[in-house]
Amino acid sequence: MSANDKLVIAGRSFTSRLMVGTGKYADFPQMVQAIELSGAEIVTVAVRRVNISDRSKESLLDHLDTKKYTLLPNTAGCYTADDAVRTCRLAREAGLSDFVKLEVLGDEKTLFPDNEELLKAATILVKEGFTVLPYTTDDPIVCKKLEDIGCAAVMPLGAPIGSGLGIRNPYNIRIILDTVKVPVIVDAGVGTASDAAIAMELGCDGVLMNTGIAGARDPLAMAEAMNLAVRAGRLAYRAGRIPKKLYATASSPVEGMIE
């Protein structure tokens, strides 16, 4: 059934609903293997200054097959709308597409987004023709504004970045799903496979993670786990789960019991 169940963002369709980051891996080969095992088609990358003095370091693009993966440049580390916009313009020039993962952080400690600055940046970037995927809080009002501005998706956090706390507030995620029409992708908070499954079972269109995989004791095993979990959660969502009840009834026929 998953065959025709595509994730469509700004007219482009993807088979995998899992997006992964490229940070925190031991080395490039491990990163490449993990991404491979995750089944992800969209991979987020950061934009940083080239080190002029030392050119020895290999480049990420020596390892990532850009024919195979859609690179999603992010504005990680930006704390103002201006920085984020500037980073996006550089990213578009460095890359090949208009897709950007927009994040404007509010505070170095918690890495919560600053939605006020985010809305400003999103407004500018949409005008400039970017396909904006904004990282935000689980705030239905902000998500609605981002959709109205013209963002291609909304990416509410499940929990603080790197916390591994999972979907702290499924109620808000559900309200967001009721409120916007663009894809809802949970970004941040996923710590283990069941977290990803829960996000999908809520009806989310996708999940984005990095530390959950790269930070695991065995990143490759966790990458495969997340791959399976996202598919499991999506299938379960579409399959229509049984209702929850305080008690239930046996699944065995009562007629014909031996006496």
């Binding site: 980051g21 940070g23 550089l90 990095n210 530390t211 930070g215």
Partner: protein, 68 residues
């Protein structure tokens, strides 16, 4: 003459951006360049000559920025 590249001053002879990138061993197809805070389209690297005091930002993609 002096220019500022990624925040550090560098002494160079007048040359094009293309020439400069080559001089520091950077593959132009892998980076983006900002000249005095404006994006410099790849097509203009060749005919753009660096001037005294120019501020260059040269960036590329690195691992990171995903979210757990």
């Amino acid at each position: 003459m002096e220019i500022i590249v990624n925040g550090e001053s560098k002494t160079i002879t007048p040359m094009s951006v293309t020439a400069f990138l080559e001089s520091v061993g950077i593959d132009p197809t892998r980076v983006a360049v900002e000249l005095n805070l404006d994006i410099l389209p790849k097509g203009e690297y060749k005919e753009t000559t660096l001037r005294e005091g120019d501020r260059l930002e040269i960036v590329h993609f690195v691992g990171g920025g995903g979210r757990p």
